[in-house]
C-alpha cells in the first residue's frame, strides 16, 4: 500500500464546517418548491432542484453606483433569483455579492414596511406604526411650526453618498423651504472636489472618476483604444466589482498597462504593472513629482500644452490671474468675440511678450513658451507653466520617495508608462478615485490629477479618461461651462464661457422676471453654513458639515433644529461620529426615510418613512456606455414608496398649511409625488407611451441605445462653430485651465456661484497642485505613530448590506489591515481583536495581517453593526460605536480651503491588543436572525 505522501495540509486550511452541532437554517428554500422540474431528468438520484420561476423581469441593480443590468426571476411575485443581463455592455452579465444579497435585504426582517413614529426615548429603538396620512401630517406640522418660529434656516437636510437615490430631492426640498443647509457625508469628502476642479479646468463635469461616470471611454467594448490607465486612489474591482471591475479585468487581459497608486495592495494593485504604495495624505507630492519629471524630460504633449491650455499665459504676480492682452497692450484689439478674451504669452517667434489670441493651433500667430519668467514694468512675471514648474521643482524622484514612502525607481517606471516614454503609445488617462477627496488636500489633488492628463493631451481622445459623449456633445457654439446647476435657472450663478455682458444680461433678465427668487437664491448661497470659507461647496449647493454641527451646538450664527435625512446611517458615515451623537439632543425633530433602521434612526429619528429597495423602485437614467437601462419595479411589499415621494408629499402638505405657498423658491422640487408619476416619468425616458406600454414591450424600449458612431465622439474642442473658431472648452479662456484661476475668483467673491451678489472673501484657494504635510503626521506624531487610511471591500457599499447574513458570514467584522512586523511589536496575531485609537476615540477591529500595507500604515473599511440592537441582545446598543472607523476620523481644521473637506483618511492612530465588543457577531450561524423572512409578505400595490 503506497503511503499518501502529503506535505503540509495547509492548502485545505480554509475548509469551513459547522460541525456536529446542527444549526436551524431557514434558507431561501422557502422560495424553492419541492417538486422537481418538469424538464428532463436530473440524474441518477441527484436531488438538486432548479430554481422555479414563472416570470423574468429586466431591471438594474442599485447595490452600488454600477447599476449593472440584471434579470430578476420571480415565482408568485417573489424574487427568487438574480442573474446578470448578458447584454449589459461593460458588465457582460457579471453581478457581484452586493447585487446577489439584495435577495436577502429585500426580504430582510429588518425592513421597515410602514411609517414609524418613535414610541420610547431616542436610543430605545421603540416604534409604533402609523398611517401614511398621519406621518405626512406630523412631518408637515413640525416643519411648518419650526419654520414659522425660527425661519427657514432652522430646517436642514442630508442625504447619503453615491448610490443614494435621493440627492436632488432633499436639496430641492430645502430650496423649496428656503434653506441652504444641505449636506451629505460624501460630497466635500467624495466627488465634489473632483467635479469642482473638472468644471473649473475643463468646463464640464465629466470627471476622471470611474465610479461615478462609468468612464465610458475606458470601458468601450468594441474597438477599445485604452493603452495605459493610472488608477489613483481607486479600487474598480472592489467598488464596482461587476462594472468597472469587470471592465478592468478585460482591459488587463487585452494588454492594457496599469499603474495603481494605493497604500493598500488592492486587487487592482496585485495585477498592476507598477504599484506605488503611497503614504496616505501625500498624493499631491507625488503629483508634483510627476509634473516635474514630465516637464524636465519633455514628456508632455508640447503642441497641446501650448495651444490648448493656459500654461503659456502670463500671470499677474499681484492678482495671480492671467494677464489679459488689453492690460499690457491697451491698443490691442482682439479679433475673437467678447466671450473669448486674449491673453499674453512670450512668443518664441519674436522673443517678446505678445498678445495671445484664441485660435485653432494651426492658425496661431505665436509660438508660446510655456515656461517663461521675466521682468515687466519692474515686476517679475511668470507664465502659469513656470509657476507650476517652480512649485514642482523640489519634488525630485528621491525627495518624493522620501516623503511618500516610495521607491524612486518605481515612481519613475510609473511615470514612463503613463507618458509612453519608452513606447509608441499615444493615449492614456488617470482613473481618479475618492481617496484624495477624503482629506484636506482634496482640491489640490483634483487639480493635479486633471492637470496631468491635460498636459499629456489625454483629453477628448480615444482611450482617454476625460471625454464627452453623445450627439449633444457636438458643439454648435463656443463651449460654455456645462455644469448643470440647480440654481442657474433662478438667475444666479455666472456661466464661464459667456461674455461678461451676456452673464450680466442674464442677471438683469432674472432681476426683472423673478427678482425675489433671484435675491433669495443668491442669499442662500451666501448664508449656507461654512460656505464663506469654503466656497467650492457651491458646486453642489451644499454646506460645510463641521459648521452645521457647530451651529447646532452653539446656535451661531443660527441654530438648525429640524433634520430631514433621506438616506443611510449618519452615525456610521460622518467623521468624528461621537461629536454628532453628542449633538442629537439639540435637535428638536428628526425625520428620516430608508428601507431599514440604522444606528442613526435608533439614536436620533422621531419619524421614519419606509422606502423601496431597488427590486421595487422604478428608476432610470442608468447609463452604461451608449445604453440606458431601466431599474424596474419587479415586486413590491408593504407600504414602501419610491424615494421622491415622502418629501414631495410633505411639501404639498406644508404648502396647504401655509395657504398655498412655500417660504422658499416656488416649484423648485425635483421629483415625483406619486408612484404613477414616477412610472410615467420612466416611461417617457424610454419613449414609451405609458408604463404599461413600457412593461409590455420592454425589450424594444430597454435599453435605449445611442448608436456607437453617434455616441463615441472625439475632439469636440476642435470642431469649428458659429464664430468660425474651434468650440474649445467651457472655461473663461476657452482652453483647458490647468492653472485653475477660477479658484482664485471663487475665493475672492464666490464667482461663479454667488453672482450677482458676491460672498465675503476668504484666503485665496490655490489654482495649482501644492503639497502640505498632513496635520496629523506619522513623521512627528509620537502618541499616535501609525497613519490610517480606508477603502472598500466588495460586499458592502457605504453603510449598506451589513444586515445581509450571507455578506456578513463572508466578511463578519471590521478588519484592520496591519503589516505583520507592526503586529508582532504589539503581540497581535492574525484575526486577533485589536483596539484602534485616534485623538477622537477608540474602536475595535480584527487584525488582518498582511505584507500588503506599509509597516507604518494601517487600513480599515467602514463598519457599523446592526446586530447590536437585535432582540436577542441583553444590552442593546445602536451599533455605531464598536467598530466604526468614523469614531476615529477627524472633523476639525485644517480643512481643504476650497471645499472644506475634513480628514477621513491620512490621520494618525495607535493600536494595541483588544477584545471583541460585547454585541458583535462573528460566526456564520450567529447571523441567522438576519436571514430573510418577508417572502411571504403579500405583493402590494402602489401606496401613494
Amino acid at each position: 500500500m503506497t503511503r499518501a505522501n502529503l506535505s503540509r495540509r495547509t492548502f485545505v486550511q480554509g475548509a469551513l464546517l459547522a460541525g456536529a452541532a446542527a444549526a436551524v437554517g431557514a434558507s431561501m428554500s422557502g422560495c424553492m418548491t419541492e417538486s422537481s422540474s418538469s424538464s428532463a431528468t436530473i440524474g441518477a438520484g441527484d436531488q438538486r432542484k432548479k430554481v422555479e420561476y414563472d416570470e423574468i423581469k429586466k431591471t438594474c441593480c442599485h447595490g452600488c453606483l454600477g447599476h449593472c443590468p440584471v434579470l430578476a426571476y420571480l415565482k408568485d411575485g417573489v424574487v427568487v433569483k438574480l442573474m446578470g443581463d448578458p447584454n449589459g455592455g461593460e458588465s457582460r452579465g457579471s453581478i457581484c455579492p452586493k447585487c446577489l444579497n439584495q435577495l436577502q435585504t429585500m426580504y430582510s426582517p429588518r425592513r421597515i414596511l410602514h411609517p414609524l413614529r418613535r414610541a420610547g426615548e431616542r436610543g430605545e429603538n421603540k416604534w409604533e406604526i402609523i398611517s401614511w396620512d398621519e406621518a405626512i401630517e406630523e412631518a408637515a406640522t413640525h416643519i411648518v411650526d419650526t419654520i414659522d418660529k425660527y425661519g427657514p434656516y432652522a430646517f436642514f437636510g442630508s442625504t447619503g453618498g453615491g448610490g443614494s437615490y435621493s440627492s436632488n430631492q432633499i436639496k430641492t426640498t430645502c430650496v423649496s423651504l428656503g434653506s441652504p443647509n444641505i449636506f451629505e457625508p460624501g460630497a466635500a469628502q467624495c466627488l465634489m472636489p473632483r467635479v469642482c476642479a473638472t468644471v473649473f479646468m475643463v468646463g464640464d463635469n465629466q470627471t476622471q472618476s470611474v465610479a461615478d461616470s462609468m468612464s465610458t471611454e475606458f470601458f468601450k467594448v468594441n474597438d477599445n483604444a485604452s493603452e495605459v490607465i493610472v488608477i489613483w486612489g481607486a479600487q474598480p474591482s472592489v467598488s464596482q466589482t461587476a462594472q468597472s471591475g469587470r471592465g478592468m479585468a478585460e482591459l488587463r487581459a487585452n494588454g492594457v498597462k496599469t499603474v495603481v497608486i494605493d497604500p493598500n495592495f488592492s486587487p487592482d494593485a496585485t495585477k498592476a504593472d507598477v504599484w506605488l504604495p503611497i503614504r496616505p495624505g501625500t498624493d499631491t507630492a507625488l503629483m508634483l513629482c510627476w509634473f516635474r519629471y514630465i516637464f524636465e524630460n519633455k514628456l508632455y504633449n508640447k503642441e497641446f500644452t501650448k495651444y490648448w491650455t493656459n500654461l503659456p499665459f502670463l500671470i499677474d504676480p499681484d492678482t495671480k490671474l492671467p494677464v489679459l492682452a488689453s492690460e499690457l497692450f491697451p491698443d490691442f484689439a482682439q479679433s475673437t468675440p467678447d466671450d473669448t478674451p486674449a491673453y499674453v504669452c512670450f512668443d518664441l517667434k519674436t522673443n517678446a511678450l505678445t498678445p495671445f489670441e484664441f485660435s485653432a493651433p494651426k492658425d496661431a500667430l505665436v509660438d508660446p513658451e510655456v515656461f517663461w519668467e521675466g521682468e515687466v514694468n519692474g515686476k517679475t512675471y511668470r507664465t502659469a507653466g513656470k509657476i507650476y514648474a517652480d512649485e514642482a521643482d523640489p519634488w525630485t524622484l528621491e525627495h518624493t520617495a522620501d516623503i511618500c514612502w516610495l521607491e524612486a525607481d518605481k515612481i519613475e517606471a510609473a511615470i514612463r508608462l503613463y507618458t509612453h516614454a519608452d513606447d509608441d503609445g499615444t493615449t492614456g488617462g488617470i482613473c481618479h478615485g475618492v481617496a484624495t477627496d477624503q482629506h484636506p488636500q482634496s482640491s489640490e489633488a483634483s487639480i493635479g490629477a486633471i492637470g496631468l492628463d491635460i498636459i499629456m493631451g489625454y483629453i477628448n481622445k480615444p482611450g482617454a479618461s476625460i471625454t464627452k459623449k453623445g450627439p449633444a456633445s457636438i458643439p454648435m457654439k463656443r463651449t460654455t461651462q456645462n455644469a448643470p446647476q440647480t440654481m442657474t435657472k433662478y438667475g444666479c450663478c455666472a456661466i464661464p464661457g459667456l461674455s461678461d455682458a451676456a452673464n450680466q444680461a442674464r442677471m438683469e433678465k432674472a432681476a426683472q422676471e423673478m427678482p425675489e427668487i433671484q435675491k433669495m437664491v443668491n442669499q442662500m448661497y451666501k448664508d449656507g453654513l461654512g460656505t464663506t470659507a469654503h466656497k467650492g461647496l457651491h458646486t453642489w449647493f451644499m454646506v460645510h458639515i463641521p459648521s452645521v454641527l457647530q451651529a447646532i451646538t452653539t446656535g451661531e450664527p443660527y441654530k438648525p433644529r429640524l433634520w430631514f435625512d433621506v438616506s443611510g446611517n449618519k452615525l456610521a458615515m460622518l467623521a468624528n461620529a461621537s461629536s454628532w451623537y453628542d449633538a442629537i439632543s439639540e435637535i428638536d425633530y428628526c425625520i428620516c426615510q430608508y428601507p431599514m433602521l440604522t444606528s442613526f434612526h435608533v439614536e436620533a429619528a422621531d419619524l421614519v418613512f419606509p422606502t423601496r429597495e431597488w427590486l421595487e423602485e422604478p428608476l432610470t437614467d442608468h447609463k452604461h456606455l451608449n445604453m440606458v437601462f431601466l431599474q424596474n419595479e419587479c415586486t413590491h411589499i408593504g407600504e414602501t414608496v419610491s424615494h421622491s415621494i415622502p418629501t414631495a408629499q410633505i411639501l404639498e402638505r406644508c404648502k396647504e398649511k401655509w395657504g398655498g405657498t412655500l417660504p422658499g423658491v416656488p416649484n423648485a422640487y425635483v421629483g415625483e409625488a406619486t408612484e404613477e408619476a414616477v412610472k410615467a416619468s420612466c416611461a417617457k425616458t424610454f419613449g414609451a407611451e405609458s408604463w404599461d406600454d413600457l412593461q409590455a414591450n420592454i425589450d424594444t424600449y430597454v435599453p435605449k441605445v445611442t448608436p456607437e458612431d453617434k455616441y463615441y465622439v472625439y475632439n469636440q474642442h476642435e470642431m469649428i462653430v458659429d464664430d468660425g473658431l474651434p468650440a474649445g472648452f467651457g472655461t473663461e479662456s476657452r482652453k483647458l485651465e490647468p492653472y485653475a484661476s477660477l479658484y482664485l475668483k471663487l475665493a475672492r467673491t464666490g464667482y461663479p456661484y454667488t453672482y450677482p451678489e458676491p460672498q465675503d472673501p476668504c484666503d485665496d484657494y490655490s489654482p495649482i497642485c501644492t503639497y502640505v504635510e498632513p496635520a496629523e503626521s506619522p513623521l512627528t506624531d509620537e502618541e499616535f505613530p501609525l497613519v490610517l487610511t480606508s477603502g472598500r471591500v466588495p460586499y458592502f457599499h457605504h453603510g449598506t448590506m451589513r444586515h445581509s447574513a450571507f455578506a456578513r458570514e463572508l466578511f463578519p467584522t471590521a478588519e484592520i489591515r496591519i503589516n505583520p512586523a507592526t503586529a508582532a511589536e504589539h503581540g497581535i496575531a492574525h484575526m486577533d481583536w485589536v483596539k484602534v485609537s485616534s485623538r477622537r476615540g477608540s474602536i475595535s477591529a480584527r487584525a488582518y495581517l498582511t505584507e500588503g500595507v506599509n509597516p507604518r500604515c494601517v487600513w480599515m473599511e467602514r463598519f457599523w453593526n446592526p446586530e447590536c440592537f437585535d432582540e436577542s441582545q441583553p444590552n442593546k446598543t445602536a451599533g455605531w460605536r464598536e467598530c466604526n472607523v468614523n469614531v476615529l476620523t477627524k472633523s476639525d481644521a485644517p480643512f481643504n480651503p476650497a471645499i472644506g473637506t475634513y480628514t477621513n483618511r491620512g490621520f494618525t492612530v495607535k493600536i494595541e491588543k483588544g477584545e471583541k465588543p460585547a454585541n458583535i457577531w462573528t460566526e456564520a450561524r450567529e447571523f441567522q436572525p438576519f436571514m430573510p423572512t418577508l417572502q411571504s409578505e403579500p405583493v402590494t400595490k402602489d401606496v401613494i
Binding site: 499518501a4 505522501n5 506535505s7 495547509t10 492548502f11 485545505v12 486550511q13 480554509g14 475548509a15 469551513l16 464546517l17 459547522a18 460541525g19 446542527a22 444549526a23 436551524v24 437554517g25 434558507s27 431561501m28 424553492m32 424538464s39 436530473i42 440524474g43 441518477a44 438520484g45 441527484d46 436531488q47 438538486r48 432542484k49 432548479k50 442573474m83 452579465g93 457579471s94 453581478i95 455579492p97 446577489l100 435577495l103 472592489v238 471591475g245 469587470r246 479585468a249 488587463r252 487581459a253 486587487p267 487592482d268 496585485t270 495585477k271 504599484w275 466588495p794 450571507f806 458570514e809 463572508l810 492574525h830 484575526m831 498582511t850 506599509n854 509597516p855 456564520a924 441567522q928 436571514m931
Partner: protein, 201 residues
Amino acid sequence: MRYAIVVDLDRCTGCDTCITACKYENSLPLGVRNTRVNVVGPTGTFPDIEQYWLPIACQQCENPGCIEACPTGASYRDEETGVVLINEEACIGCRACMQGCPYGVRTLNPDSGTVTKCSLCFQYHDEPNWKPVCVADCCTGARFFGDLDDPESDAAKAIAAAGDNVHYLPDPSNLKPSTAYILSPKIAAWQNDPVEVARDL
C-alpha cells in the same frame, strides 16, 4: 466527457461572487459553502510582494478519493458527463468522503444532515447552455466551463490559450484533479503547496 471549470487567476480578484451565487442557487444555509476563495499571499516582504486568489471547489478528479470512501454509494460519477455528484437521498452524513478528499471541498450541511459540494450546477445539465452560476456571474470573467474533451469548449480553449501557465492543485495521491488554474508569472508565481490565508477562525 469531462466537464470541469477552468479558473484564470490572472483575472480573479477575490470578490466572492462565486461563493455567494452558489449559495443562492443551491439553497445553502449559513456556514455552508460549496466553494471557497482564499488568498495566497502576499508573498514576499512589503513592498516587493505578489498575491493571487485561489477559488477552490470540487476539483472533479479523474480518480476521486471521495467516491471510494463513501459507504452508501451516495457519491458517484455521472456516466455521461463525468461529473462527480452526491445523491443526497443516500447520504447518511458519515463524512468519510470528506476524509477522502485532500482539497476540503465537501461540507456537511447541518440542516439536511448530508454532505454537499459543487455539482457544476448539474440540475441544469439538460439545458442547451448549461453554465454554472459561478461562471455566469463571475465579475472578472475568470471562470470557464465545459467538456475538457471537446476542444471547442470554453474550458478547453482557455487551457489551450494559457500554454505553460496552466496549473493544478497538489496531487500526491494521484487523484488527477480536472480543475485547471491559469496563472502567469507577471501576476505571481504559482505555489505548489499554497498557503491559503483565511479569516475563518
